[in-house]
Symmetry: C2
């Protein structure tokens, strides 16, 4: 029986972590909810009890076994080492430590065995689009040997946190009332639009968000490097990400063998009979645990390659659920 | 001075054709508006005059010089040959004749010279996603020699006609009122969702909509064949299509040379300074004539290849404007 802390308990992911702990009957002795001074003192109902949110300080982690962080990179960089030094294993949802060599980057179904060795007491939770993409790619990599990926994302506003959801909600209401729409957190209107720029542009013209598939993808799959290009696009969808991929393999990959490989993998399902209208959409996976894959067909361009479409709940498998699954590996 | 007929004058594209004729000061002697018996007798205001919609019959085309068709493939298959036999040049927005060898398939900026020879008196207007994609690809093909394209689309509901726009509008209103959302023309909810299936599935697993880029693309670019894979996805955007592409070329293609080639081409603009927040979104091109290209960067996967993003108004350059531009080549 462990003592658990959630840092960023009032955020969209923090709230979903509570949901996941509850739904999965995660056994713990004590649950400590931490947030900024602004939220401290507020209460959250959880399993019939009223939990009071405490202010995050450097003394918050005494006696904590597992600390789930989801309060942004700055908070993680400052407080994760403090929590780790106090003896907690940190599961960090930010990008702060993901590429550090001595920090395992874990998707439990893919490389959960790495949770056994945490030299710095920190485990990183991968980027949400990377997790969703890899839930389709990992079984195919094992079956056929992944060579390269060309992808495009359809990312939900939940990826920007609660503020993203509020922004799309407000803009949909403004549209329905015939009122003018003014973007706040996004640089352009997101309702009835698509924004092909997520994150900061790096030297090669790709954004840091786009480079996560390349860098985190290679680390999670245990490859020295991964040839991957993605264009990350924000779309007016509340909370599930979709990704189109052309995945090229070392060995021939038939559609049937690909479906079988995905079906046999935990945490991902095949939903692929388009002639009968069967394909997954973001709403089909919203509030669900599993990612879903459809539209699997041979690439018309690359050899030994498949085109496909994968969807996953961004808040859940893309963040909170994956973190809670990592916590389950520790107890 | 010509006599013009519009078949499908009450549809979303028919209405936009009227807009384009007006805005571009298209000179004509007489304008005949044709539609189904259901719409016959209704009036449309145009350039200060009241035009009465006439019922489309086999006798509608006497004395017509140019007939713009946008009433679906069935109407085109039945009435385009009748109009052509009556002496009109048909510009057909449906897919009925696009791949016929003796029917030119025209994007005026790319292959407008083909309008000079119309053996069957029929010219086909290409698929909307194909037009938008090719407005970026054609200048790059001329500069570097196109070899292959891997693409994903973000297609607006206007591509389903007026009913698509009504469906997203109704669902946005229902969402704002907290009412249940029931899909009508789409198989799943489109508000806050993405639907990765447009058109009918063909033998190779791609839809007929997806194969249009491959087939129509090759014909318009004058290539024997085009290696192209696209996943076509409907997104909750009102009326502009976006496409991500990885385009591979015969010869090295630098980002600067690509930008210069696109800038020098009519009908398409570069909007590409993402570090300063400059990139095109669907709303940026809505109600505009030009397509816009951004996020141009070297592919991280394929050699001599660029990743990019192109947007274009589906109703306008994707349909009505392109048809009116073809008409301009005929007078």
């Amino acid at each position: 029986m462990s003592t658990i802390a959630i840092v960023g308990a009032t955020g969209a992911v923090g709230q979903e972590m509570l949901e996941c702990l509850d739904q999965r009957n995660f056994h713990f002795e004590k649950l400590v909810l931490l947030a900024s001074a602004r939220s401290a003192g507020k209460t959250i109902q959880f399993q019939g009890k009223e939990l009071i949110i405490e202010e995050l300080t450097k003394d918050s982690f005494q006696g904590i076994d597992i600390a789930l962080f989801s309060a942004g990179g700055g908070i993680s960089r400052e407080f994760a080492p403090i929590a780790a030094a106090a003896g907690a294993v940190v599961i960090d949802n930010s990008s702060a430590f993901r590429m550090d060599a001595d920090v395992p980057l874990i998707v439990p179904e893919i490389n959960g065995e790495l949770a056994k060795s945490t030299p710095r007491n920190i485990i990183a939770n991968p980027n949400c689009t990377t997790i969703v993409s890899l839930m389709a790619l990992a079984p195919l990599h094992r079956a056929f040997g992944l060579k390269a990926v060309i992808a495009s994302s359809y990312q939900a506003v939940s990826g920007s946190g609660a503020q993203g959801i509020i922004e799309l909600d407000e803009q949909a209401h403004a549209y329905a009332k015939g009122e003018p729409i003014t973007p706040r957190i996004y640089s352009k209107q997101i309702f009835s639009n698509a924004i092909p720029l997520i994150g900061n542009v790096t030297e090669n013209g790709y954004t840091d968000e786009e480079m996560k598939l390349t860098k985190e993808g290679a680390k999670i799959l245990g490859m020295d490097s991964l040839k991957a290009s993605i264009t990350c696009v924000r779309v007016p969808v509340m909370r599930s990400h979709s990704v189109t991929m052309t995945a090229q393999f070392e060995r021939p990959a038939s559609v049937d063998a690909a479906r079988a490989a995905i079906e046999a993998f935990d945490g991902v399902q095949v939903m692929d009979d388009p002639q009968n209208g069967v394909f997954p959409s973001p709403l089909d996976v919203t509030n669900g645990d599993d990612c879903m894959v459809g539209r699997i067909r041979p690439s018309l361009v690359l050899e030994n390659a498949l085109d496909l479409w994968v969807v996953g709940d961004q808040v859940r498998k893309g963040a909170a659920l994956n973190a809670v699954q990592i916590a389950e590996l520790l107890v």
